[in-house]
Point group: C2
Chain length 337, copies 2
């Protein structure tokens, strides 16, 4: 494996970039070093999470969105866009690779769009960490927008909400039962709601239902992302803002297969970015994310240090006592530390 | 708030039990003390996870299952059953409470069944921890079977797989697109697959598709729960088994609303329990779970200790350097520890 040149990544070398992402994916030391090198160049990219259940048409939407973002942004001539598809499809179907190839064809010829899948098999707990590392490398490599597509559910939704500046939650019409169950999660993380497949007859009803839920949430006292993030942070906080509750997530009808509604979605994304920057929330989100990253790394380092010096035979004898139900794990901690 | 008597919980006092679970839910100190007291009495309950997307009919299935398990088990006269419904419905709809009330009516009059919802709002990362604490208290309170119902997706599936002895994954016919995306997760965690709503015309096709996937997985080299758990454990391992791959998850057609297929499902659960006990996997799973619990507690305690002695102004100045992109969080750890 040849050494990966971080300067080449900065200069737009796609092979070097691909290798860097693979190094991260495979937990290689080089991946860590590249993140350290590239970190000082980060903080510029707009990280956009696109999440929703499988089957709502996220991939098609993300492709259309990438094309539209390439054409419509005015502050830069041509923003460079990266797409990260966190794909839970098992590799034995070849789903991830096949998906990539179809996308390559669709977006072929545009050198300003970089596409990469991350297979989630085996990653599980480490998936959020790897997605964040991908974002660091792509940000440091000079991409202006990083679109991160994930199958949204449970912890994955929380993870993307903590990473992305803007979270787009995609729905399809006629979810029926589902809507009741998922709305709490949606309301907490969505900055923009999309009802895809808007050419279906019940699309308008789904949009109405979502808007009604948003009205209830924003009229009442439901937590929103900003609030929630503050509650979650454990270490002492330096920033404090009260503007986070002002954003009301728009509900956008889109027919991704025909590109319908996509320009309006781009406008809403631009609007949300402007809102974040002007309200100071962009900086608050960055601060929370980096603080959380640091906290996680400290926690892991402390555990590593402890594991190196722990008396293994003592640990195993205590473990046996727990298995024998002599005392609870919480009481064992007092014996070990 | 009156003190909760742990002996009353052991003697079957339901009010004391309810209070204990509330103490755990609200992170009260009493919840921790009760877990320590009850832990020596645990290790007897069969923890059964029931998971699947929303709308597949999990609640109805769990109710039917509880009734059937009450009647069919022969090793004990009448096993005591607890149902824990981890309910992601936002409290502003009253979903969790309403669900409880409907269930109470359905299972009313049976003193051997205890039902409790856990609203997941606000819990997020702590949900797995609280579910495990519920299991400890219910196990210690003398329940023979604890049915844990969760909306299955992403991290929640991994969590339930790590907690439960037996994981039942519930599908509904005609998932179509979804099946492609979720099968990897299912194959890793399911001990038993249920196709609910089996009176629908495409139920048999869904069952066939799931069986075909299982054939591929078990013929090939897809990870199964046992393997995966071993890879995930970080501390030194004492046990080693090679039998975990022998279990082939059955696919059971069920019409929960009519109770059809439920007795067969009970048989499969009993069969799986027998398999776990005879193969030694029951003990392996317990050991992994308790080891993981201990590891998590150690990690949190180390972090608590560190936070108490850290120089806050130094920490904040380093945090500022990170925000200014002077160096990466990973490099900051070296300065802090």
């Amino acid at each position: 494996m040849p050494k990966i040149d971080p300067h080449a990544i900065r200069q737009g070398d796609r092979l070097a970039l691909s290798r860097a992402l693979s190094a991260v994916e495979n937990n290689e030391q080089a991946g860590q070093e590249l993140q350290s090198f590239l970190f000082p160049f980060t903080g510029k990219a707009h990280l956009i999470g696109v999440t929703g259940a499988s089957g709502v048409g996220k991939s098609t939407l993300v492709n259309q969105l990438a094309k539209a973002l390439r054409q419509s942004r005015t502050e830069k001539d041509t923003p460079k866009i990266a797409i990260v598809a966190v794909d839970p499809t098992s590799p034995f179907t070849g789903g991830a690779l096949l998906g990539d190839r179809i996308r390559m064809q669709d977006l072929a010829g545009d050198k300003g769009i970089f596409i990469r899948s991350m297979a989630s098999r085996g990653a599980l707990g480490g998936l959020a960490h790897k997605t964040a590392a991908f974002a660091t490398i792509l940000d440091g490599a000079g991409f202006d927008i990083v679109l991160i597509e994930t199958v949204g559910a449970g912890q994955a939704e929380v993870d993307i909400a903590q990473l992305a500046h803007t979270v787009i939650v995609v729905e399809a019409p006629g979810m029926g039962d589902d809507i009741q169950a998922i709305k709490a999660g949606i309301l907490e993380i969505a900055d923009i709601l999309v009802v895809n497949k808007a050419d279906r007859p019940d699309a308008e009803n789904t949009a109405l239902a979502l808007r009604a839920m948003l009205d209830m949430a924003h009229g009442g006292s439901l937590p929103v992302a900003g609030k929630h993030m503050r509650q979650n942070a454990k270490l002492p906080q330096t920033e404090s803002h009260t503007v986070s509750d002002e954003w009301r997530p728009p509900v956008q009808l889109v027919t991704a297969t025909k590109g319908k509604g996509v320009p309006q979605l781009v406008e809403e994304i631009t609007h949300h970015r402007k809102y974040l920057l002007e309200s100071g929330l962009w900086q608050v989100k960055e601060a929370h994310r980096l603080r959380r990253d640091l906290e996680t790394l400290i926690r892991e380092s402390l555990m590593d240090q402890w594991q190196k010096k722990v008396d293994v035979s003592k640990f195993e004898s205590i473990m046996k006592d727990i298995l024998d139900r002599k005392y609870a794990p919480i009481d064992a901690v007092k014996l070990l530390l």
